[in-house]
Each structure stands twice: as C-alpha cells, then as structure tokens.
C-alpha cells in the first residue's frame, strides 16, 4: 500500500504549526509528544501504521473550525477520527498530518420524542444513542457490531450498517442532519430535524465520504419506537446453495425480517469451539430474526418454517425464551472473536446480489484452494453483504500479502457478479487501489469533482478512497 511521503516543507514548519494549534485551543487539547501520538497511529486495520505530526482533541465546533482554519492556511493534511475502529484504514494518519479526534464532543444536545429525533455531538458512541432514549421506548437503528466503541462521526464517515439494517436501513437512511466544519473552517448546517431537506442532497453525499469533505461535529438522528418484541430462529442446511435459496424465498414471501445472518461450516466450527453455542454441525446455517407482538412473531416464524421445510433443513430451532434467543445469537456475535482466536484474519465486506450467493461462495472456495488459505464466511445474507474472513498466519513471511491478494480476487468476483467492493466498512486505504475494478475513470472523476468543491486544497483525509494515479492531477491542481 503506497502512501505518499510526508511533505518535508510541512515537517519543517512543525513547531510553528503546533504552536498555532496550542494558542487556538485550551490546555491539553493538542498532543505532539511522539510517545502519545503513537496511540493514534492506526485504526482497526492494524497492518498499516503511521503516527501523525500532531493530534488535536477539540471540545466544540468552534474549536474544530479554528483548527481547520490553521491547517487550511498552512496547507496541512487533516485526518478526522472518531473512535478509530475503521476496518479499512479510514482513519490512518500520514506523518505530516494533524488528527482531529472528536471523542470529547460527546454530549446529547436535544431529545425530541414527539418528533422522533435526537441531536448529539458527533463523538458520542453509537450504543449510547440508544441508551439515551431506551427508557422512553425508543432506539437508534443502525447497529454496527462495534457499537459499544464506534462514534456517530465514524458511522457517518463510513455510512455504517449492522445486522438490523435489513429492515431499518443504514446510517444514511437514519441521518437527518449534520453540523459540519468545511476545509476552510466555515461552519455549515445540512438537513435538520425535518423529514426532508431542500436543495441538492449534500447531506447524502457527506454521509459515507470518509472524512474527505468536512469534519462532522453534530448529528441529528432519527429514533424509532422499539417493537413489542423480537425472536430469532436458527435453520441448518446441508449446503450453502440451499441456504442461499431459502434466503431469497423468505424475502419473496413478503416477510421482512430484521436480520438474516449466514454462517458456513468453517465459521460454525470455529465459533462452536470458542463459544459453545450448541450450533448443529452442518454446512450452513441461517439466523432469522423477526419482530412484533408474540402472535405476530409466531405467525412470521410459522411462515419461515413453511418456507424452510421446502429446503430440507437439517435443523429448525426456534427460541422459546430470552435465554434460547441469546444462545442462538451467541455464536454469531462471537464469530469474529472466535476466528481471531485461532488465526489472524482479514475481514472483507463485498456486497453481491442475493441471487449470486451460491455462485460467489463456490468461487471463494475455489480461490481458497488456489491460494491454499482457509476462509470462514459469516455475513448479512438478507442484503447480500458478505464478510469472508481469510485466515492466515501473520508471523509467516509473505502470508499477509497472499491473503491480501486473495481478498482482492474475492472482491473482484463480487464486482463481476454485479456487486461492490464494500457494503459497510468503507474504502479507506484498504480498497483504494481496487476502485478501478468497480468504476470507470469517468465515474471516479465525477466523485473527485465533489471533493474538489468541498475541499479545493485536498487536505482532508489524504491518500484514501481514490487510487493515487487517478487523483494525481486533482492533487497537483490543488497544491
């Protein structure tokens, strides 16, 4: 992964830049001691690390604006950071950059249950949004598995999803407005508590722009009334293909489950060894969760049973209590951790049309044989968002590169069947150089024009998303 070298002219002005930041911010909001900036050298894609020149921890939008103005005037790259749980290297610094970490921006600003929204500072964690409204019977729907740690800022940066997105949509479908600092320090408001926003949908393009269009400091989020109840079923199958066909039939039948999760045999084995959830020993299983009153749940589960029966399941397990429900989810929820216990792994995030599941799973198996690496599959089957985990040994020289090469092949396969490189984790540095597998030069050019408008100097989150050759002319023009 090539990252452009640090600009020596910026490094030469380091002291002046840090002094200007110190003068603009309260005590303790600027970190430049290399022993401390190390804590910000990577996100959850730990294979890539680089400590920044300095880290700033603002406590208000106005402070963010002051930082941006200084960096803009000095031409210093800025890396926005929420909680640093990106799996794509989206928050990876460069050596000449200033990190703006929004973790101190964590207040709830307004809760309006009548109009069903909450306005928060962007550093607040995802789960704590739901915590703030659950006593009143509401919740915030997008639920990335990292929700205990990840910040709304990062969710907006990546347009993150989660298991419940099949029914409730991803971040962009639940985001009503933001307050944001532009590259030159200007503060803007996009959207608001209303159900639609006037003019061009700038909010829509900011969501998922990976910190390259501005620093989000506040967010207005849609909250939803909590359903009366929810219950999962677990269905085991004798092949991936049959499980895939069952998913399509459930969706066609007009049932709208909250989640349909898929695990294949390698993944089932790994999680059983780790979490002992008591899963059946089979080729593939689905966890399907439905919501409503007890009768509504029974009715939907009845329909799912009818459909599953047509696909000869090896097991159909219905949760009859909270405890049984928790056991059904236990294996799924510990899948990543379980696989991590036995191996290092790369987690992919390609999305495919649901109808292509069997073909892509077979293709992944062939690639695994070719590369002589193991793959465990666990993913959001209802919307085709796959998470193949490629297992490798990081201590073995060359294994990471081999796993990455295989990952690239899998993602190309996803694109080939009509899918995309990333369904919820983002491009970051990880998939940057694969972008031209999915997009034509003209497609990328159109996206970079948006960047030109929001960030004419190209200082926000450098070296991410766009292949460096593709962005070279834009960066030169901006310099």
């Amino acid at each position: 992964m090539h990252i452009p070298p640090a600009d020596p002219k910026i490094l030469a002005r380091r002291d002046r830049i840090v002094a200007a930041l110190r003068a603009a911010l309260p005590e303790g909001a600027v970190i430049d001691d290399p022993a401390e900036t190390r804590a910000y050298e990577c996100d959850a894609l730990t294979a890539y690390r680089c400590p920044p020149m300095a880290v700033t921890l603002p406590s208000s939008t106005e402070e963010v604006s002051r930082i941006m103005r200084i960096c803009h005037d000095e031409g210093v790259p800025v890396v926005p950071r929420g909680s640093g749980t990106s799996l794509a290297g989206g928050a990876l610094p460069t050596a000449d950059s200033v990190v703006i970490g929004v973790s101190r921006l964590n207040k709830v600003l307004e809760t309006d249950l009548d109009n069903r929204f909450i306005r928060v500072e962007a550093g607040r964690t995802n789960l704590s949004i739901t915590k703030a409204v659950e006593a009143e019977g509401f919740f915030y729907a997008p639920d990335p598995s990292s929700q205990l740690a990840c910040a709304i800022a990062g969710n907006i940066g990546m347009n993150s999803g989660g298991a419940h997105c099949l029914k409730y949509g991803v971040t962009t479908n639940n985001l009503l407005g933001v307050r944001m600092v532009l590259a030159d320090g200007t503060i803007v408001e996009l959207g608001g508590p209303m159900m639609d926003a006037p003019g061009l949908d700038l909010l829509g393009v900011v969501c998922g722009s990976e910190g390259q269009l501005g620093i989000v400091t506040e967010a207005t989020l849609r909250i939803l009334p909590r359903p009366e109840g929810a219950r999962p079923v677990l269905v085991g199958f004798s092949s991936n293909e049959v499980a895939g066909a069952c998913v399509a039939d459930i969706i066609k039948a007009g049932i709208l489950p909250v989640a349909i999760e898929f695990m294949d045999r390698p993944c089932i084995r790994a999680t059983e060894a780790f979490a002992h959830a008591g899963y059946p020993d089979c080729e593939a299983l689905l966890i399907v969760e439905v919501e409503g009153s007890p009768d509504e749940i029974d009715h939907q589960i009845g329909l799912i049973r009818q459909i599953a029966t047509l696909h000869d399941p090896v097991e159909f397990r219905e949760a009859r209590s909270e405890e049984e429900a928790a056991r059904i989810w236990l294996g799924r929820k510990s899948a990543f951790g379980a696989v991590g216990q036995i191996n290092d792994y790369i987690c992919l995030d390609g999305t495919i049309p649901v109808s292509e599941l069997p073909r892509v799973l077979a293709g992944i198996r062939r690639l695994a044989e070719h590369y002589e690496l193991e793959v465990a599959n666990v993913f959001h089957a209802g919307d085709g968002n796959m998470h193949p985990l490629i297992l490798f040994n990081a201590n073995e020289p060359g294994e990471l590169a081999k796993a990455e090469a295989m990952g690239a092949d899998i993602l190309r396969l996803c694109v080939e069947v009509g899918g995309c490189l990333t369904g919820e984790h983002g491009v970051g540095v990880e998939k940057r150089d694969l972008m031209d597998a999915q997009f034509t030069p003209a497609d990328l050019e159109a996206q970079m024009r948006v960047k030109d408008v929001f960030d004419p100097k190209w200082i926000l989150n450098p070296a991410k998303v766009f292949p460096l050759e593709a962005s070279a002319s834009h960066r030169r023009a901006a310099a």
């Binding site: 159900m195 393009v205 497609d443």
Partner: protein, 385 residues
C-alpha cells in the same frame, strides 16, 4: 443532428444513452430536461425540451432480490404494473403531480428519482432517495457516469446516487435507475378519526407514530365539506393489521372511536387522495409544500388564516393553498423548516424563488457542484435557484 436523436413534438428525444451523450457534448444552448413533463416545478426554464421518454425499458427485475433496474424514461405506470404482478411495489409511494399541477402526460421513473418524489409512507419506509440503489447519468459535458449499483448495501466511493436524487436534472440527465422494492402487504387498513382540531390531530398522530405498531401513514385531511378527518394507516399480514388496529384504537381512545376501513379499493383511494394532495385539485391559488417538525404544524396554520391546509407525515409535511403571489416564506420566520412553492404561474415563479434560498456557504457548495457537473450551464439552468 446526431444519429439516434429523433425529434418528438419538437422535443429532442435521444433513443439511447450514447445518443444522449453525443447530444449533450455538442449542445450549444440551454435544455429543459423532461421525463413525462408532468412535474414543472421550480423556476421557469427557457431552452429546448429534451425528453428521456425513449430511454425506457426494464433491464433487470429480480423479485427474490427485491431489485429493479429500469431506463429512466420508463413510464411509472409500467413499473408499478410490473411490480404489482409479483406482489411488490415502490415502498416510498411516489406522488402523482398531474392532478395538483394540472399537467397531462406519463410520469416517468426517472422523473420520480430526479425530483425525489415520495408519499405518505415516507414516515415509515423512507423517501425515494432511500430506495435508490444506483444511477447512470450523462453530465453536462456529455460524459456517462455511474454511481451505486444494484446491491442493497454499497459504500464504495462517494454517494452520487443521493446527490442525483432530487437534483431536478441540474447535474446530469438520468438514463437508468436501480431501486430496492418491497413486497406489497397482505392487508392495509385506514383508521379515521372525526372532529379533531389541528392541535388534537397532531397530538394523535404524534402518539400513533411513537407507538410500536408501525403506522405507515398519518394525515389530517379536509373532506369535500371542509371538515377534517385524521387518518392513520396500517399495513402488513392481515392478523397483524387487525391486532395493531385494535391496540392503536385502545391507546388513542381519548380522541374518540375511529372508523376502521379494510376494503382494499377504498383504502387505496383514501391514501391516493392524501398522496396526490387531492383536496387542492382544481382549486384556485398557489400551492406551497412546507416541511417542519410535526409538532410545529399548528403554529404554521395559525400564521395563515387566509389559507387552506392539508397535513401529511404526522404534521411534518404541510400543504398550503394561498392566494396567488403570497410571499409565504417571510411569515414562517422562527419556525425551523423550509417551504417550496410547488404550484404558481410562471410570473410568480420568476418573482418568488420556488426552492428555499440556501445559506451562503451551502449555496456556494451547490453552485460549485453544478459548475463541475454542468460547466456550460445547459441543464435546466436556474431551475433550483
């Protein structure tokens, strides 16, 4: 004239994307982009009409994957019939503007996307922009661009899909759109409450929308005699609808006993009337679409004693019928939200900006994007300003 660019009733009608690209690359004057031409919203645009009508046809429909990919010029009616045959539908319930705007012609699916047209189900399901998975378009330089795709989850690169939704043809001409569709419900029911004043109605709708019973429509609508009915809609499996109707009626018993309608044709007609703003059809005056927090609807109404109103989205969408030429925006001061002048004669739409004026910094961004995507200013110039 490039090959593949025929002329229909004086309008340029490219027969495919390549012909459209050629046409835009060589265009030497402003163009008025139209699908079926049924939604003449915004500042009047001078220029030659370019219609997407011939960019039509279904490229892909997979009911099991809830995915539809169609040419932008495909008539909406065709799309809806195709989906209905598989028991599916466009979840965002796009409004038909013909009755309100007095237009004729065939609404196209591309026009729906370009204007981000949604209906009463917005409160539950989401807007048009929430179901748009991918687009192909030709920008003002004649370059073909793709964004998004056909899959349900996609965060690869910037989201130009949402940028195009609601851009009213000012950034590019859509050639193909991909939508997520959903199964149509087994049963729909309307719960109608009578005799509530606006404050009570908003309170009722607020309570209903905050309940766990998945209300998919909440409107306060005048009947032919001018008295208002407060309407709630429930959809889903039949048993579930009956159960939730019972629970809602119980929780809202303080507002009176609702009349429950489950007759499919009449439920559909009731919500079509809400969706298409039926009460204002063939009535004199300008029509404004005001977007506010639902609980601010009564405040809006109090400021315009001379106006007629209809309320959707639990009060969050206020339709106002006012005397021609009314400068409505100035009188909304202090209420968070925005107002769009949807129907007025051309002179009024020259004088009063139909789209809400943007704060300077936001306007600079919008203007910057238009200049990048349409550097010569040929695509519906000025329409959104």
């Amino acid at each position: 004239m490039a090959s593949g660019n025929t002329i229909e009733n004086g309008a340029l009608a490219p027969e495919d994307e390549a012909a459209l690209a050629e046409l835009l690359a060589s265009a030497d004057g402003p163009l008025r982009i139209a699908g079926g031409g049924t939604r003449p919203i915004g500042r009047p645009v001078r220029g030659r009409v370019l219609t997407t009508r011939r960019l039509s046809g279904v490229s892909l429909y997979e009911p099991g994957a809830l995915t539809l990919v169609v040419g932008a010029g495909t008539p909406l009616a065709e799309v809806e019939a195709l989906l209905a045959a598989e028991g599916q539908r466009l979840p965002f319930e796009p409004m038909d503007h013909r009755g309100l705007l007095g237009t004729t012609g065939e609404p196209t699916i591309g026009g729906v996307a370009a204007a981000n047209v949604s209906g009463p189900r917005r409160v539950r399901a989401g807007a048009c922009r929430d179901f748009l998975l991918g687009v192909r378009f030709v920008d003002g330089t004649g370059t073909v661009v793709r964004s998004g795709g056909r899959v349900m989850k996609n965060v690869t690169g910037y989201d130009l899909v949402r940028l195009m939704a609601g851009s009213f043809g000012t950034l590019g001409v859509l050639t193909e759109v991909a939508f997520k569709v959903l199964p149509a419900p087994e049963l729909a029911a309307t719960l109608a409450f009578e005799g509530l004043d606006l404050r009570e109605a908003v309170l009722l709708m607020t309570r209903a929308l905050a309940s766990p019973w998945e209300v998919s429509g909440a409107a306060h609508v005048p009947g032919a005699d001018g008295t208002f009915r407060t309407l709630l809609r429930l959809e889903g499996f039949a048993d579930s609808v009956h159960y939730r109707a019972g629970r809602l009626a119980e929780r809202l018993s303080g507002f009176g006993a609702p009349e429950t309608d489950t007759e499919p044709a009449s439920v559909a007609a009731t919500w079509r009337e809400v969706r298409d703003v039926g009460p204002f059809h063939e009535r004199e005056g300008d029509v404004w679409r005001i977007s506010v927090k639902g609980t601010d609807a009564p405040e809006v109404a109090e400021r315009f004693p001379e106006a007629s109103f209809m309320f959707d989205w639990g009060g969050g969408l206020v339709w106002a019928l006012v005397p021609p030429g009314t400068e409505l925006r100035a009188r909304l001061d202090g209420i968070p939200g925005h107002a769009t002048l949807v129907r007025a004669d051309a002179t009024t739409r020259e004088r009063i900006a139909p789209f809400p004026p943007e704060p300077a910094a936001v306007a600079t961004l919008s203007e910057g994007l238009r200049r990048k995507f349409d550097p010569r200013g040929i695509l519906n110039p000025g329409l959104m300003t």
